[in-house]
Amino acid sequence: MSFGYYLLLLAFIASAYTIWAGASGIKLNRKSLIKNAQIAIYGQCAFVTLSILLLAYAFVTRDFSIEYVADYSDRSLPLIYTLSAVYAGQDGSLLFWTWLLTAFNALFIFVNRKSDDEFKPYVFTVHSAVTFSFLILAIYTSNPFKKLSPVPPDGFGLNPLLQNPEMIFHPPSLFLGFVGFTVPFAYALAALIKGNLSTEWLDRSRNWTLFAWIALTIGNLLGAQWAYVELGWGGYWAWDPVENASLLPWLTGTAFVHSVMVQKSRKMMKIWNVVLSILTFLLTILGTFITRSGIISSVHAFGESNLGTLFLVLMGFVVFVSVFLIIFRWSELKSAKRIEFLLSRDVSFLVNNLIFIVLLIVILVGTLYPAFSELFIGQQITKGEDYFNRISVPIGIFLLFLLSICPIFSWRQTTGKNIIKKLLYPFIVSIFFVFILFIMGVHHFKSMLTLGISSLAVMIIGVEIYANLINRMASKNEYFLISLIHVLKLNTRRYAGYLIHIGVILIYLAIVGTTVYKNETEITLQKGEEAVIGKYRLVYNRMGERRNSNKDVLIAELDVFKDFKKLGTVEPRRNFYRSTMGQIRYTTEVAVRSNLKEDLYVILASYQEDESATFVLMVNPLQIWMWIGGGVIALGVFIIIVHSIKNNKTEPKQVQTNSTIADNGKRKRRKKGR
């Protein structure tokens, strides 16, 4: 075994020590043990970091005596993909995950090194227990340093589909999301163990949760973008089990991010928050279980392995401990307050959570259906796109409606008069907007509904900002711009939240455009012939060849015209990847010409010896807004995190202390009562 493997063993010993020292330090109230545990966390991180660096070094130096390196790279692989190959396979991705776990834990104790966070030892101990489990997997079932004999002269190469820029960032982003949700999970368990179920654990874990959520959001969008440009079928989401596996924790994570606000503002939904944080963590593990157990076939799946059993054991253990602790703390988890009025933000958040859970169940059932059908009738029956779309589209539209009207509700109670006041103008404008759309030819009911609700959401946000701005200008006698800056600054979190909502609306618009108004045709052209799609005219010029370091590229060149004006050239390709091991694998590389209105998407479907070629042409309206929407969401979350860090620095204890005192007071009273 190589040195990298021994480093993993050392990290394993260090994680075991952290668990013992952390737990014993808490139990015996010995600060020295807690301090030692923290040093051991740095040790874990250092050992796993060195280990993954050694694996990367083995890839760069083409050390094919390591089986994993031989399986996922070859001599012709460019450096950037050689490095991304570290997490291209099962063993490497598990090591990468483990490394992120240790890095997050080390970062957690570093960031909180001067903090008086009473949850800290609990959190890093739980976190280390998760790391401990992953190290068991990395060492005993998925060792990436396994030797290969005899040593082959070259590797088998990286799957050409993974040789794509999106694939460099998509897996790390997803893993950041998965690992990031370990922190709120650890806080939830810490709160349950400690019996402090005030909002403190939510405040402390807030930024970690938001970071995990945005990483998972970006990871999913990057995956969609990869599918769009690399798989060459013109779509970006196919409800594949592995895609669903990363969507499931996103759904509960999104519900959790919203639900936190209710507990913070109304001291309700304690049980929801604890369960959602645990569920999100469990779903990150379930996703990995689905992809690695071989229970469900998928284009992405890593294939059958005994890893699935170990993940199942880990999930079982987490469920057992969590359920035990929830039952143990049941009385403290009951909310101090109850929902008093139906027309309130409290209810809209509760409905929001319920909708997310319904969507989760629908997708989970659809994803696991093949496994259950095999179990009961001995045959894998897969639920197709139709099943998922039929249920998720109306739920999605309802969620958009909730998103749009939520800002008009106040906590506890909103009067009907107030609702009418806030809703009237946006509603009238939205109806007018839908009417205009209808005249312009948008007759698809669900599209009109989505676009109408989207306009309602934007109008409600706009009207709120405008009202605040007018009030401020009148009361302070300020200029428009200065007032606007003050208004936005005073409500940074709220408006950053709205910015995230606008990002989501942009994604909805892209979904409507690309699914309902997509234009597609397939045509075979001889050189010099032309094809027309939408307002585009494409003239097929020639078929050329190019030789790169690791591939031969066949390029079809088409001139693109619109309204008799040449816009440029598109070059759909077919890449033939060479490998010294004798295999030739190819990928179809689409050509995409984007603008704010639509994407022109050209696929080289096939070609003949006489240089005639068959093309699939598509016009995907509003596609680019999906990626812009992702960017807007990221910006919104970034603003919230920066604002939160800044606020914590200026007033570090105010928020936490108030809530802690309040809740501690209640706990003491309850204890006295008993």
Binding site: W20, S24, K27, S149
Partner: protein
């Protein structure tokens, strides 16, 4: 040239033009290769028609050879994508001629079929060359054997019966005790290489000439040394032995080390043993094998679990006191 000559010449061109006669002709003789290539009259000849690797017709064209041992088939419509194989059945054994493809340019062709008498005498069967690849993993040795076998005689070797079974085999390859995971190289070979007891048997009849096939298997071991003793059944010209693990040492009577040898970039230790005759034994001693031991990782796992139990026990006791 007079007009009448021109008419005759034109008629001849028309008459013999392949453009007008798109039928084809396949002829050939059936010879007996066991008796100085004497012709074989009155045997059934069948024409097999293939498109690519698929047999599309095996019954439309059937003839018997005439007194001169000749057969002739007329193909009514030519198709250049079709391949024709004449096959003759002699002593209940089917023999094949060479492949023929008929096109608009080549409307007639010849393909002879050579048939043989049969024999159950194994004397002419020899192993011309054997390549033996050895690869060791802790606890398991992997063998891959490639055989080039020759029937040096002029009769088809029909083999022997399996003990108390109504099945024939032509070649026997004894496998070492404890063999497992036998893999036969091609799907086609899986039809005629069968395991029975402790041997692998070749069940196809052996007409004169050579053939090649390969298979692999594994043998578990426990100690650092392991020995293969295999009886020699057929004369063997030479065995090349390739060992991938550089630390392994191979010894045995007649075995010579030939230095390192690279195959497709992979380095092997090469050994050779030559001229083995039936009645002899091939003895291979493989030394310095990697032995399976309790790995460090399992020692660490057990150690960590034990220490955690002791540690938490200590903590609980301490907290109570």
């Amino acid at each position: 040239m007079t007009i009448s000559y021109k008419i005759i010449l034109f008629s001849l061109i028309i008459l013999y033009s392949p453009l007008w006669s798109q039928t084809g002709k396949l002829t050939g003789f059936v010879y007996n290769g066991s008796t100085d290539s004497s012709i074989v009259p009155n045997v059934d000849v069948n024409l097999l028609v293939y498109r690519g690797h698929s047999l599309i017709d095996d019954s439309s064209y059937t003839k018997k050879t005439d007194v001169r041992g000749k057969f002739e088939f007329t193909i009514p419509e030519l198709d250049s994508s079709l391949i024709y194989y004449p096959s003759a059945t002699f002593n209940s054994i089917v023999y094949y001629g060479d492949a023929v493809r008929l096109t608009g340019k080549l409307t007639s062709a010849a393909s002879d079929v050579v048939v043989y008498d049969t024999t159950s005498n194994v004397d002419k069967i020899v192993v011309q060359l054997e390549h033996l690849f050895i690869d060791a993993e802790p606890g398991k040795l992997y063998f891959r054997e490639i055989y080039i076998i020759n029937n040096l005689g002029n009769k088809t070797y029909i083999g022997k019966h399996f003990d108390q079974q109504d099945k024939h085999y032509t070649l026997q390859f004894p496998l070492p005790d404890g063999f497992q995971d036998v893999e036969i190289s091609t799907e086609e070979a899986q039809n005629w290489l069968k395991i029975n007891g402790k041997s692998l048997y070749h069940t196809e009849l052996m007409s004169p000439g050579s053939r090649q096939f390969s298979f692999r298997f594994a043998v578990p071991y426990k100690k650092k040394d392991w020995q293969l003793s295999r009886p020699i059944i057929y004369p063997i010209g030479a065995i090349n032995i390739f060992v991938s693990n550089p630390e392994l040492v191979l010894e045995g009577p007649g075995i010579q080390a030939m230095g390192d040898f690279g195959i497709r970039g992979t380095n092997y230790q090469r050994y050779s043993v030559q001229h083995l005759m039936p009645g002899m034994e091939l003895i291979l001693s493989v030394k310095n094998l990697p032995v399976k031991s309790i790995s460090l990782s399992w020692i660490v796992l057990i150690g960590v679990i034990v220490l955690l139990i002791i540690g938490f026990g200590y903590t609980l006791r301490k907290s109570k006191s």
